[in-house]
C-alpha cells in the first residue's frame, strides 16, 4: 500500500482509501474506492498526477494525491 503521490508512471493499483475531505471532489471526477487505476503521467513543476481509470484520464492535484492510498498490483 502506498500513497498515490508516491507511485510511478505505468504503475497499476487499486484505490483503497480516499480522505473524506477530498472524496466528493475526486469521486465526481471518476476516482472511487476499489477502482483499478494506472498512472498515465506525472506532470513536472509540481503539476498533477494523471490517472487512468475506466477509459478516462483524470488529473489529480499532488495535494490530493497525498490523501489517496493505493494497493499496487504491478
Amino acid at each position: 500500500m502506498k500513497k498515490l503521490s508516491e507511485m510511478n508512471v505505468g504503475e497499476k493499483g487499486i484505490v483503497k482509501h480516499i480522505s473524506p475531505s477530498i472524496r466528493p471532489v475526486v469521486s465526481a471526477m471518476g476516482l472511487r474506492l476499489n477502482e483499478t487505476i494506472s498512472i498515465a503521467s506525472i506532470q513536472p513543476m509540481g503539476g498533477p498526477f494523471v490517472v487512468s481509470a475506466k477509459n478516462a484520464n483524470i488529473s489529480i492535484a499532488r495535494a490530493h494525491a497525498k490523501n489517496i492510498d493505493v494497493e499496487v498490483i504491478c
Binding site: P24, V25, S27, A28, M29, G30, K54, N55, A56
Partner: protein, 174 residues
C-alpha cells in the same frame, strides 16, 4: 413555459446538443455577478416554445470553481426545469455520478448518451434500454455533431421523470 437545462461534465458536448436543439435561434447571455457565461435558446416542441439553457460543465453539485457555482445556481433556481443530463458514452460511469446527484434532488431527468459513435468505435457497447429501466428515466443515444438521436431526444422530453435513488440501488442489486 417549459424549461430545459443541459447539464453534464465539461467537454461532453452540451453546447453541441444546445446548438442542435436551438439552431440559429441561439443567443448568448451573461450571468450576473460572474464571469462565466451560460447560453439561452429556444426550441419549438410540439408547438410549444421551450427555453433551453446551456449550463456550464460541472462534475458534481458540490461546486469547486466559479463555473460550477454558476451551474449549481441555475440548477437550484430553475426548480421546474427538465434536466437533460448529457453524458460522454465513452466515460459513462463518471457521468452517472452527476445523474444520481441530480436524481437525489427529485428532478425530472432525461439522459443523452452523447458521443455514441465514438463509444462504438472504441468497442464500448451500452444496453441503453436496460440502463433506462434500471434508472427509471429515459436514456437516448445521441451523436450531437451529426445530429443523430436529436429527434428522439426532443420527442422524449415529455417522458422526463423523477426517480428514487433507493429503488435504483435495489434494482441494480438484483
Amino acid at each position: 413555459m417549459l424549461k430545459i437545462l443541459l447539464m453534464g461534465h465539461p467537454n461532453v458536448g452540451k453546447s453541441v446538443v444546445f446548438n442542435r436543439l436551438t439552431g440559429a435561434n441561439a443567443t448568448e447571455s451573461n450571468y450576473p455577478g460572474t464571469t462565466v457565461d451560460y447560453e439561452k435558446g429556444y426550441v419549438f416542441i410540439e408547438g410549444h416554445e421551450t427555453e433551453v439553457l446551456d449550463v456550464p460543465g460541472t462534475f458534481s453539485l458540490y461546486p469547486k470553481d466559479k463555473a460550477e457555482e454558476v451551474a449549481l445556481k441555475i440548477f437550484t433556481q430553475e426548480k421546474d426545469a427538465v434536466i437533460i443530463c448529457v453524458l460522454d458514452a465513452t466515460k459513462i460511469e463518471r457521468g452517472l455520478y452527476l445523474v444520481l446527484e441530480v436524481l437525489e434532488r427529485s428532478r425530472s431527468v432525461i439522459i443523452a448518451l452523447n458521443m455514441w459513435d465514438v463509444a462504438k468505435d472504441k468497442g464500448i457497447s451500452i444496453d441503453h434500454d436496460h440502463l433506462s429501466s434500471l434508472l427509471g428515466v429515459p436514456v437516448v443515444p445521441t451523436v450531437a455533431v451529426s445530429g443523430a438521436g436529436m429527434k428522439e431526444l426532443i420527442f422524449s422530453i415529455h417522458e422526463a421523470c423523477t426517480s428514487d435513488v433507493k429503488s435504483i440501488v435495489e434494482r441494480a442489486m438484483v
